[in-house]
């Protein structure tokens, strides 16, 4: 177990280093002088020179990278070009919104999808299975931003049950905050139920064929016990990995949902900064999201032996 832990931790180091190099190289690769691009054509040479020195752009590239990495390692992501705010606190504030939506949505999706997949596998090739599989494939095929627009159209504009635009933090008004995040959460949960149900069904089918399931049935265990005690725990491991991938995937793709529902989340911050050519914020968002993705997958992998002890024993 300990060996597995160390090996898995060591694997993240090259990943994180490559992430850092990619994000750093990004600003260097943008055609033209980044300082000129940031300040616009009307900036005077002294101003350009000052920002260049401030960003360390007068040094050699490896020196710049080392300098930048050292600052990032202690949480200094620099300052926004557009409003001068420190980048990291800005990111953390926006991240709370995104993280809340993603975590709740994935939890709901898992609670629906894992049992649904199990039932479909248990009744494989029956009408129930066909209905669940068809429903999951359909959900998998709907783009999240379109589903979001349709839900807004229905509940916001036609039925007028929920507000269409805006966001209120939970600390200000709990009830009102709830009305703003219900639809984004519902949208994301529905989209992810598709992928998770299919995964849960596929791995349940494999487990149901194994000898210990036959054995459990042969010794007279009731069907609910066979499913709950033997199939579910063993079929859950691959689904658990997919949940980790989905969490990261959602953090990368949350920008579209935040755009549909006008939420001040991390994805929206990234896209807005790209439009504003606010490169320190862009760099910060990319780096932060990538690190979160790596950490989430690390946590998922470290929990994996809880569901499948064979992994740690290898």
């Amino acid at each position: 177990m300990f060996g597995y832990l160390v090996r898995r931790l060591a694997m993240t180091i090259p990943t994180l280093l490559l992430v850092a190099i990619t994000v750093f190289a990004l600003v260097r690769l943008i055609p033209g002088d980044p300082v000129q691009v940031m300040l616009g054509d009307s900036a005077d040479p002294a101003q350009l020179e000052q920002l260049r020195r401030q960003m360390g752009l007068d040094q050699s590239i490896p020196v710049q990278f080392g300098y930048w990495l050292a600052k990032v390692a202690v949480g200094d992501f620099g300052h926004s070009i557009t409003n001068g705010l420190a980048v990291l606190p800005l990111i953390l504030e926006r991240f709370q919104v995104s993280a809340l939506i993603v975590l709740v949505a994935v939890t709901i999706a898992a609670c629906v999808a894992v049992p649904a997949g199990l039932i479909a596998a248990w009744r494989q090739n029956s009408a129930t299975d066909l209905a669940i599989t068809a429903g999951a494939t359909l959900l998998l095929s709907i783009p999240s931003f379109w589903l979001g627009l349709l839900l807004l159209l229905l509940f916001g504009l036609k039925l007028k049950w929920l507000p269409v635009i805006g966001y209120v933090p939970f600390s200000d008004n709990f009830g009102q905050a709830l009305t703003f995040i219900v639809l984004p959460i519902a949208t994301l949960a529905m989209i992810e139920i598709g992928a998770l149900t299919r995964m849960s069904r596929a791995s349940s089918i494999e487990v149901l064929r194994l000898e210990y399931v036959t054995h459990a049935r042969a010794k007279g265990a009731p069907e609910w016990r066979v499913l709950g005690r033997h199939v579910l725990p063993n079929a859950f491991a691959p689904t658990w990995t997919l949940i980790g991938l989905i969490l990261g995937h959602l953090l990368g793709g949350i920008a579209v949902i935040e755009t549909v529902f006008t939420l001040p989340g991390l994805g929206r911050l990234l896209v807005d900064s790209i439009f504003a050519r606010d490169y320190p914020v862009v760099q910060g968002c990319l780096l932060f999201t990538a690190v979160i993705y790596v950490v989430v997958n690390l946590i998922v992998d470290l929990c994996y032996p809880l569901f499948d002890p064979r992994v740690a024993a290898e």
Binding site: T15, Q124, P143, F145, W146, L149, H249, V256, L286
Partner: protein, 270 residues
Amino acid sequence: MKMRANTAIGGFLIGILFATAVTAAFWTPFDPLKVNLRARLQPPSALYWLGTDEFGRDVLSRIMAGAATSVFVSVLTVTFAVIIGAVIGVITGYLRGWTDRIIMAVNDALLAFPGILLALAVMIVTGANKFGIVLALGIAYIPSVVRVVRGTVLSIREREYIEASRVIGNSELYSMARHVLPNSLAPVAVLATSMFGWVLLAESALSFLGLGVPPPAPTWGNLLAASRPYMESAAWLSIAPGICIALTLLGINLLGDSLRDRLDPRMVHG
């Protein structure tokens, strides 16, 4: 039985997509870019089958042109990613040793990066245009191809016919190109099918954000983005492009399933 239905429905949907895309390259009912302010925001009618947008442009024509753009971008991206990924995968899987270790370390690190984020990062450098998207999404998906091809090559290179090719004095390069590459294509075909769907969705999402193909050129993603302000008064604008994306993805998912079932006998339905 169910498998055949999957193939039929999936094939039908994707067939329609490609037929529409090819047709749109030569003919659309109206000029998709032609502004006609006297026909603004018309609901679907006999003349304008899917209505018109805020500039009086025909929605059906724009959707057809959008299909052409999406198919063009997706096919080009998948081709690009598969070719580069297959070459790297074959080389690394065949040579093994240090080349393999270094390439795979970089590859795994890239895989640990959310694809859409990598694509966004590349887009910032290339700028928002058709070829920027192809490059960005292509780079984002190369690591998955490398992984699949390398895995297949590792198992193929131990087969007897590769050994035979080596024994009769063929060069390593010849054996790779002539024997290993063609035999590792089946899993790549499965991957390429799913990838076509991911790319199409990612392209729509980027265009929806305004970071994809720039307007006035229509894509399904930017049609949806442009429909937002008129969602209540002109709902047809937001419904038609979404249905197109969903049906295309459904077709690809169904085709992908049947392809996987055929190539992976373990998963054959009992």
